[in-house]
Symmetry: C2
Subunit: 253 residues, 2 copies
DNA sequence: CAAATAGTGTCTTTTAGACATTATTAA
DNA sequence: TTAATAATGTCTAAAAGACACTATTTG
């Protein structure tokens, strides 16, 4: 509970934490999972402190697991943020918390200190996520990337930068595996890319490119949809895909 | 001095620090500026603690300034490193320090703690750098990237990753401005790129591409060299260059 | 005029980009 | 047979890549 974090400060690193921008894709919209501390009525990216026994990647994975129930997610570090004004400008103070929640936390508690945030982004298959708020949180829910609630600290910037990194990566690595179901149709992956890049892509050229790169494979099945021609299902070619992740592919769209 | 850092721990953030891989280019070789703590006979990337009053970027700039005397350098954050084993595996202990230097430092001093390192790389014009070791260091000098001395912690990995980031960036941003003198010849910039990318580039196509992108401009001067045809001097087109830095250019070589 | 290196142009291949028609299914 | 959407091929333009000869200077 709260006590866990407040009293057990010896368990965590000081002055450094992780933030994890968890992206999910649903109904042609890119969403991001945000949490709301019950101390402030602003929202934050999911994040947490780093245990002394874990690496920063493990901390980010734990943060994601706590909110989504998923493990083995695609996790990408993209930048760290740190300057003395991050917390000072946020309205996140002992006084404010006392007013809102009745909790009395010392003014000089380590949680109000200057924190460097190591930021990651994570891609999830929306339908598999079971959203759960972590302890010490008032809420946790998906928000459309293009329609965010008021954000705390510099978290709006963090999301912007995460999106920038995602868009850069999508041109060099075969992202998509983690955002779609195992079998997907061309229209589905096509509109995923259009959504992430926020621009329309010629369907013929798009298909051509993915097939030429060899990262997707046509299956002999169709998705059952009524009222019109059913689309073929595709899956990723895992080897090509992993190789692409490692050494990079040119997929400039 | 040492006391500054050891006693004045309240001045610095705990559990987080910056490392800065300072690159310089000299005689067709890419070099990196390394420091040697006088406590261990291994080398490290230049680095330091973060003051409570400064941002991580300011800390990295200060680290570079202390060793090179230069300000306004090109500074690029590329990754953060953090896991509990970084220090444990390094042989960096109070006992070892006492043996080597006679300094008695408590086993539980904060300097032996788990540190997350926010890593940057910096590009410098070799000839302008006046190498100076910082306090608490036995030495500070240039080393060829391809021929490094024994490195402490995970600093060999940090250099590898910095180089990877530099090679990625060079394909998207017009790097070079900070590594060459103001006026340079085509053969000079050509061999700079060949050195960084560790592969040979066709001189005609290389020139064509830089000129087409508009980031370099031919001057009406030649470099005085005897014994053969003197090369023309070029300079960067600062506007195009800055624009390229901001929005990215495709310069795949 | 010889030595040494600088400078440059053309042709070919590959890749990117624009563009519109036919195919399949269910109701 | 119609409604709805899936699937696909060709032509053009631009960019990348391969390749070798001429130019300029000093000694």
């Amino acid at each position: 509970m709260a006590d866990d974090i407040l009293n057990d400060s010896g368990k965590f690193l000081l002055n450094v934490a992780v933030d994890n921008v968890i992206f999910g894709y649903h109904e042609k919209e890119l969403k991001v999972l945000l949490q709301q501390p019950f101390t402030v009525d602003k929202w934050t990216v999911t994040g947490g402190y780093i245990k002394r026994t874990e690496s920063i990647e493990e901390a980010a994975a734990r943060v994601a697991f706590t909110r989504t129930g998923l493990t083995g997610l695609f996790l990408q570090q993209f930048r760290s943020f740190g300057n003395p004004k991050r917390v000072l400008d946020s309205g996140f103070t002992a006084k404010h918390i006392a007013e809102v929640t009745g909790y009395e936390i010392p003014e000089d508690s380590w949680i109000f200190d200057y924190f460097v945030s190591v930021a990651f982004y994570t891609l999830t298959e929306f339908s598999k996520v079971r959203v759960e708020k972590a302890e010490f949180e008032a809420a946790c829910q998906w928000w459309p990337v293009n329609d965010l609630p008021p954000m705390m600290f510099d978290h709006e910037l963090i999301i912007k930068e995460a999106l920038k990194a995602l868009r850069l990566h999508i041109a060099h690595y075969p992202i998509g595996y983690e955002l779609l179901e195992e079998k997907f149709t061309l229209p589905e992956i096509h509109s995923l890319y259009e959504t992430i890049l926020a621009k329309s892509l010629d369907d013929r050229n798009f298909t051509k490119k993915l097939l030429a790169a060899g990262i997707i494979v046509k299956l002999n099945e169709k998705r059952k949809i009524s009222g019109h021609r059913p689309p073929y299902l595709y899956k990723f070619n895992k080897e090509k895909y992993d190789e692409g992740l490692k050494s990079g592919v040119e997929l400039v769209f």
